[in-house]
């Protein structure tokens, strides 16, 4: 249940990257603002503010969402995975490692969104075709790479997983 306190803020509880979190947000705040400004999870990036670039992608209750288009209050009792929840600097997941080795990033600002979106794809479909990957990632804009090396990193990850 949402608890609204005197300041007009709402107490929100959710499980984020496996940890229970409770914080206060104004009803008008987006989930993106809450993650970045209330919880310090600045891996989510604001690129367009209206769901066109995917830089703010997280997985919320198993669904890939643009957090700029979700209100913080909608996250009540949800389970959220952000880029910070994928792997750690000394324990990168294969997808992160392959983005580095295949030069799948240049400026890096779209990278968290691509990683989260790809993880969501591979969780649903561990062996997608090139077309399926491109279709799934069409909601994530990258202005630096031309997408080629991002695709290489993803395909390498798939190849490594399927041969294991």
């Amino acid at each position: 249940m949402a608890v609204q306190i005197a300041s007009g803020k709402v107490a929100i509880s959710a499980t984020i990257n496996g940890e229970p979190q409770t914080w206060l947000s104004e009803p008008r705040e987006t989930l993106l603002e809450a993650l970045r400004d209330r919880l310090g999870l600045t891996g989510c990036k604001e690129g367009c503010s209206n769901g066109n670039c995917g830089a703010c992608n997280v997985v919320m209750d198993g669904r890939l969402v643009n957090t700029c288009c979700v209100l913080a209050v909608e996250a009540q009792e949800s389970e959220i995975t952000t880029v910070e929840g994928l792997g750690t600097p000394d324990g990168l997941i294969p997808l992160q490692k392959n983005f580095l080795e295949e030069a799948g990033l240049q400026c890096g600002v779209c990278t968290p969104g691509f990683l989260v979106a790809t993880k969501a794809l591979l969780d649903k479909n561990p062996n997608p075709t090139d077309d399926e990957i491109r279709w799934w990632l069409a909601g994530n804009l990258c202005r630096c790479t031309g997408y080629d090396k991002i695709l290489n990193a993803i395909k390498k990850t798939i190849a490594e997983t399927t041969t294991e």
Binding site: N50, N52, P89, E102, A103, V109, R143, K149
Partner: protein, 753 residues
Amino acid sequence: MTTETKYRVIGTRPVRPDGVDKVTGRAIYGADVVLPRMAHGKVLRSPHAHARILSVDTTQAEALAGVLAVICGRDMPAVSGMAAAGEGGDMNMRYASNNVMAHDKALYEGHAVAAVVATSPHIAKEALKLIKVEYEVLPPVIDVRKAMEPNAPILLEDLRTDTGGVKSETASNIAAHLIAEEGDIEKGFADAAVVVEREFTFQTVHQGYIEPHACAAEWRADGQITVWASTQGSFAVRQQCAAILQHPIGQLKVIPTEIGGGFGGKIPVYLEPIAAVLSRKAQRPVRMVMDRTEVLMATGPTPGAYIKVKMGADKNGNITAAQGYLAYEAGAYPDSFIGAGMTCLFAPYNLKNVRIDGFDVVVNKPSSTAYRAPGAPIAEFASETVLDEIAETLGIDRLAIRAQNSAKEGDWRPFGPPYTRIGHQECVAAAQASAHWNTPLVREGKDGKKRGRGVASGYWGNWDGISSCIGRLNPNGTVSLLEGSTDIGGSRASIAMQFAEAFGVTYEQVHPAVVDTDTVDYNDVTGGSRTTFGTGYAVYKLAKKMQGEIVGQLAGLWDVPAESITIDGSSYSSNGHSATITQLAKLFEENGIHINASITAKGSNLSGAFATHIVDVEVDEETGKVDIVRYTAIQDAGTAIHPSYVEGQMQGGVAQGIGWALSEGYVYDSEGHLKNATLLDYRMPTSLDVPPIETIIVEVPNPTHPYGVRGVGEVPIVPPCAAIANAIHDATGLRLRDLPMSPSRVWEALEKQ
């Protein structure tokens, strides 16, 4: 053509030092800066494209709970004079100040007229609605040719046309008329067997970096200002802020954050001086972040333009004369990179008879700034499609005509000394030898769609500029490499690799970092394809200087003449003594010796980079939609320091070129309102729009760099628009001369065919 055998580190593909932070969400970009007591700033923007500001009433906004301060034009200092501001250009600082905050006139929709600082961004946004601005709306001028008419509404009353240093007597929207001339074009055209003259128009397009502009500033009571900025040049931000704020430059420190793309658009300041003034008023650090609509409306796009090109060739395809008329929209204030456009217009070719007229024209659109090879893609769209038409008329192979007319060392070019060793001929030859060119085109695509193949070449110069670095030998034998060049796409890696090569250590032994303006000496912006060249040159000299210091210290410790010490990789030896750099680092520590060198270096780069692209397209005649089915980019990188990053620059430039060619363009109504200021309506290519892009790196070493490096970042955006237009012609017979070649334009042209 390969460097594998020549170098230890150069030519390998290590992981970038900032990579782990970027794949784990830990890297700090402009909007990620958090400071104690931080407040939030927002900008009120003009709803009119051209209006006089009669009054600004901030009282109601100031009264809103949570608002800390409100400013407008009258709170900004009066500014005059020029300041150096990147890519070798000087900036008129009064114009720059007026662009940051309009003083008396708003010159484009989105022009900043006031700003608020509040305890939250939401409160700041609410307060913007409470600011009352009284405008006298003036007629806008949004088309370059209309702006050049004698009776056009004037944007800047003090602007006079500069023609070769001579100023016009009356006010004009034409800031400059440049002329580049060589030989005798009348004779050249008279000698031609075929002459083609065509007109072209171009819309404004945006750099489209995914990270909107963001900064933070703190103006302390003692007058010290610190600015955190996502920028291509921390020193450029410092210079511009010092001039706009009329503040002593020594009391300004700029800390560069990670930068989420720039492509030239993050050289001018927009928010930084406003954040500083708001911070002074609020007595708190202030963070400011643009939204995407602000980015599209109010930050530097690349100019729209009108271009006319006339070229003549003899019956064998040798170009006899070439003429260009380029009118570029500078936006609200002068400087549209018209000179660069003129330089690049016919750059791939050896021409004896040339005349180019260039016009820099102000219009009621956002003040344009650099975008990856600024001025070149549209200029070469015109020349490369005209040359294609000449080749077709004469029945000459399209790559053959480019090869036979190719510019080479010693040939003339506009505004510059003759070319040094360049690699255009090698690029065309590599295109002719490529798998793509030698694979016959299947002319029918899916569902009977028509396919065509196009080629185009392109040129972009390399800027040298000044770079500063510090190297410190750590006690464990590693080197801390402090750089003034901000890193947009992997330069920490490409610079560390060159240092490692020169210093004789491994890539892993070098720890590069981008540091603030108080830590290193002056450093020019990351732009002009200069960083891997110029900062690479600086670290080469730094490595040699550090080796010299090591030898000097060793001579004392080993009691041998300095000249007797030889260096082999990371080993130093003389007269029975021998030690690796790791052993020496420990020895120096034990003896209280510190190897700590700094360098400020300016290379001399008179060279440049060429590219030749091949593209296959598929045209849907029912909808007018053009799909790219195969793309090969060939480019002379001089020496590819990190081949993966060179390929990445080539592919990224092509992707932006595909967007420019097919889907991107500002749409204005007659009142000068931008109608597509979101990423839904301003269509940048997605992963579905860009095919795999094949890359062929040609290596013709640059004679003015110790490792032969050429700048690689910009030239790959130059050929795509022309190559795609030539491919559409090959598929359909249409010669399209207006960008973007959107489905509606292609469909209409097919209907008229």
